[in-house]
């Protein structure tokens, strides 16, 4: 029989212990400010870098074995380029060039000549060889230097530009193609999107993009929020157990309160501390994004309120379930570091849905989504994703089942966890075998 006044006394003491710590105050108020400042600086640096990258041109080589670029009129010299293009092109030498959309193709007469230039690092964008049988096979050989950047905004434009050039040259081999057909082949679509919602109202492209971002972003952010909360809680829970062990007050606690009461008291006390922290972060985040919120309210977008509405319930249930497992296993560690390792697995299990987010977004109510909704580890985040993508597809009975499974799992976790917790708290020095621990906890004969 769990006595509420003991649980309350333990919860109150644990919460006060945590919230009075300077590290808690620093993490609660200092961390968001620090992260915002850091993210701002990083965005500025990266934005500036990307802008400069996009301003530059990609220089690559072209060997035309198919004779598609035989017309001398399409080739030009460095003197006809604008300054930026010339700055990059003059590194090659003064041979013939094609410049299109920040890409400069330098002509080489043979593959050997082109590879020589590639080896001399004159062609950071690579060497493209339009083979002699291109018209029949479509084959283009590409040569690139090793050790280049893994991704490059500048170089990613090379192949679409070459493809456009090739389409243009192919069309020019046919004398009977009408100019508008040529233009459509080169630019097949000019999209004008109109979205019709349930009430028949029309929405534009911007609203659709914002809504898609919200439906994907909200569950992702909630998942990150849940993971952060669990990781922080794991730290507090492990620390609380470590303090009990190090201060050697464990036996006094165990002689005064039932392990169920201690476990629950710690969970609630530290949970409230975590909730205070999350609330402060949430308020600061809302305050910081007030402009975005105001903008959203003027747009005709459907905000995933259902996911936001169920989040607190599933956050609390998820925390109680995972937290009780963390306390039980964390108490078995012989050091804070070992305890932390023992608890991290539970937090990772709870964010499994993030790892299969694409599948859940694609098929929110498929087999995986339905199954994950009743597994206590994955139910909170899965349901937040599903409610965000398509709230109408989640039946109330599914929500009720998820709540029931989480409550049952939490009850079991506390009952079994308390037994391990009793043994774990009394462990000192080297840890006995898992079999002996389970025997002492009366989980094995």
């Amino acid at each position: 029989m769990i006595r509420p006044n003991r649980v309350g006394a333990i919860a109150r003491f644990e919460m006060a212990n945590v919230v009075k710590r300077p590290s808690f105050l620093l993490a609660t108020f200092g961390l968001p400010i620090f992260l915002t400042a850091l993210a701002g600086v990083m965005l500025l640096i990266q934005g500036d870098f990307l802008a400069r990258q996009l301003d530059e041109v990609a220089v690559c080589g072209l060997v035309d074995e198919a004779g598609l670029f035989a017309d001398p009129a399409i080739w030009t010299g460095p003197e006809d380029l604008d300054l930026t293009e010339r700055a990059a092109a003059v590194r090659v030498d003064d041979g013939p060039l094609i410049a299109l959309r920040s890409v400069v193709f330098r002509r080489y007469e043979s593959v050997d000549e082109g590879r020589e230039a590639l080896a001399a690092d004159f062609l950071p964008g690579g060497l493209y060889v339009v083979t002699g049988d291109y018209v029949e096979s479509g084959r283009v050989d590409v040569f690139a230097r090793t050790g280049g950047p893994v991704i490059s905004a500048r170089h990613s434009a090379v192949e679409p530009t070459l493809a456009r050039l090739l389409r243009d040259r192919l069309l020019r081999t046919e004398s009977e193609v009408r100019p508008e057909i040529r233009q459509r082949v080169l630019e097949p679509m000019e999209l004008e999107r109109t979205i019709v919602n349930d009430s028949g109202a029309h929405r534009g492209e911007a609203e659709r993009t914002v809504e898609l971002l919200l439906r994907m972003g909200v569950p992702f952010l909630l998942g990150v929020f849940l993971l952060t909360a669990l990781l922080f809680s794991s730290g507090y829970l492990v620390q609380a157990v470590a303090v009990d062990k190090e201060s050697k007050i464990v036996e006094v606690l165990l002689s005064s309160a039932d392990p169920n009461e201690i476990l629950l008291g710690k969970l609630l006390g530290l949970g409230v501390a975590g909730l205070i922290q999350l609330t402060v972060w949430g308020v600061m985040a809302l305050g910081g994004s007030a402009g975005a919120v105001a903008m959203l309210s003027t747009m005709d977008v459907v905000f995933p309120w259902e996911a936001i509405a169920i989040a607190p319930l599933f956050f609390v249930l998820g925390y109680l379930f995972i937290g009780s497992l963390m306390l039980a296993t964390g108490s078995l560690g012989s050091s804070v570091a070992e305890s932390q390792k023992l608890t991290l697995g539970w937090a990772m299990l709870s964010v499994t849905p993030l790892m299969v987010l694409l599948m859940l977004l694609e098929e929110p109510h498929g087999t995986l989504g339905t199954l994950f909704s009743v597994i206590p580890f994955t139910a909170p985040l899965t349901l937040m994703v599903r409610m965000s993508v398509d709230p109408d597809g989640v039946a109330p009975s599914e929500l009720a089942l998820a709540v029931a499974s989480l409550m049952l799992a939490t009850w079991l976790a506390i009952r079994i966890g308390a037994r391990l917790f009793r043994v774990g708290l009394l462990l000192g020095g080297s840890r006995p075998s898992w079999r002996e621990i389970l025997r002492q906890a009366k989980l094995l004969d």
Binding site: M1, A9, R21
Partner: protein, 313 residues
């Protein structure tokens, strides 16, 4: 009534059999000494008595009923390996300990303040525990144990880290508890304190109860019949005396088995001896402890062969 009773308790840790069928009872209102060499099984027994760990076999009753949380609220425990939350303040921790024993917040605070005054530490109420000396911290823990005025207190090595003045304070507290009809189980390696404070003792050795009973009986059972006498004049010839050894201006008389010391006093008076001092020689609890720890039988050897045979009763 037995306030705490162990019946055939067994406890194993892996292949190690820590307690082998230990049975004993602590009576209400007494000071009970629980002794034994290191690793004998005392701590396991105490932990079982407080439901901190569970026995593999056997039964425990507390306050005359099967173990329950309600009964455990009536017990204060000062473990041997002890400590408090170092970063917390003294008064906060005492209030917390009181709350854990079921006191209301107001009552726990009032009692904590009263106890701090009783142990002379009112001025440190708002200090963090890490700022206290070892002795002060020890006194705070004793206060925390006795705060709720528990009918049963289990004090494991309560004198460690205390100066003589504070040892006297703790002895006073134990004596006050006995006077108030409260029961105390005392575990310590300071045998003279056991003799001074305890009514009954049990000695645990290698997981078994090897000595159990009231102190005088235990000491008498473990002693050879012997007396110390100092007379004015010569020692007369006495029947039932096996040997005589001079010591401290008097004589130690080792008696034949079955001879009662009062019979010797009677014989001395009958022989016209003028008796200045007459004392029964009993082994000390320290000697009993050493006997047990060394696995020696009893009674003890001849006093002449063992000058530290015993002390006057």
């Amino acid at each position: 009534m037995a306030i705490l009773r162990f019946t055939s308790i067994h406890k194993r840790y892996g292949s190690f059999h820590a307690l082998k069928g230990v049975s004993l009872a602590v009576e209400e209102g007494e000071v009970f000494g629980l002794l034994g060499p290191n690793g004998a099984g005392k701590t396991s027994l105490i932990r079982i008595g407080l439901d901190i760990i569970r026995p593999d076999e056997g039964e425990v009753s507390l306050l005359g009923q099967p173990m329950s949380r309600e009964a455990l609220d009536q017990v204060g425990y000062l473990p041997e390996e002890r400590g408090l939350y170092k970063k917390s303040r003294v008064l906060e921790v005492l209030v917390y300990l009181g709350r854990l024993k079921g006191l209301s917040r107001a009552e726990a605070k009032a009692r904590s303040e009263a106890w701090l005054a009783r142990i002379g530490l009112s001025e440190v109420a708002d200090r963090r525990l890490e700022a206290l000396s070892k002795g002060m911290s020890q006194k705070v823990q004793i206060a925390g144990t006795l705060l709720a005025d528990p009918p049963l207190a289990v004090l494991d090595e309560p004198f460690s880290g205390l100066d003589p003045v504070n040892v006297e304070l703790v002895k006073e507290l134990i004596a006050e508890r006995r006077a108030a009809g409260r029961t105390t189980v005392l575990s310590t390696h300071l045998m003279h304190q056991i003799e001074a404070l305890c009514d009954r003792v049990a000695v645990i050795h290698r997981g078994e109860r090897v000595v159990y009973g009231d102190i005088d009986t235990v000491r008498r059972e473990r002693s050879r019949p012997a007396v110390f006498v100092r007379l004015r004049g010569e020692l007369p010839e006495l029947a039932g005396v096996r040997s005589v050894h001079a010591r401290d201006g008097g004589h130690e008389l080792l008696l034949d088995d079955g001879v009662d010391p009062p019979d010797i006093l009677e014989a001395l008076v009958a022989a016209g001896a003028r008796v200045e001092r007459f004392e029964e020689i009993l082994v000390t609890m320290e000697q009993v402890f050493l006997q047990v720890a060394r696995g020696e039988g009893h009674p003890l050897p001849n006093p002449a062969a063992s000058p530290d045979l015993g002390a006057p009763a």
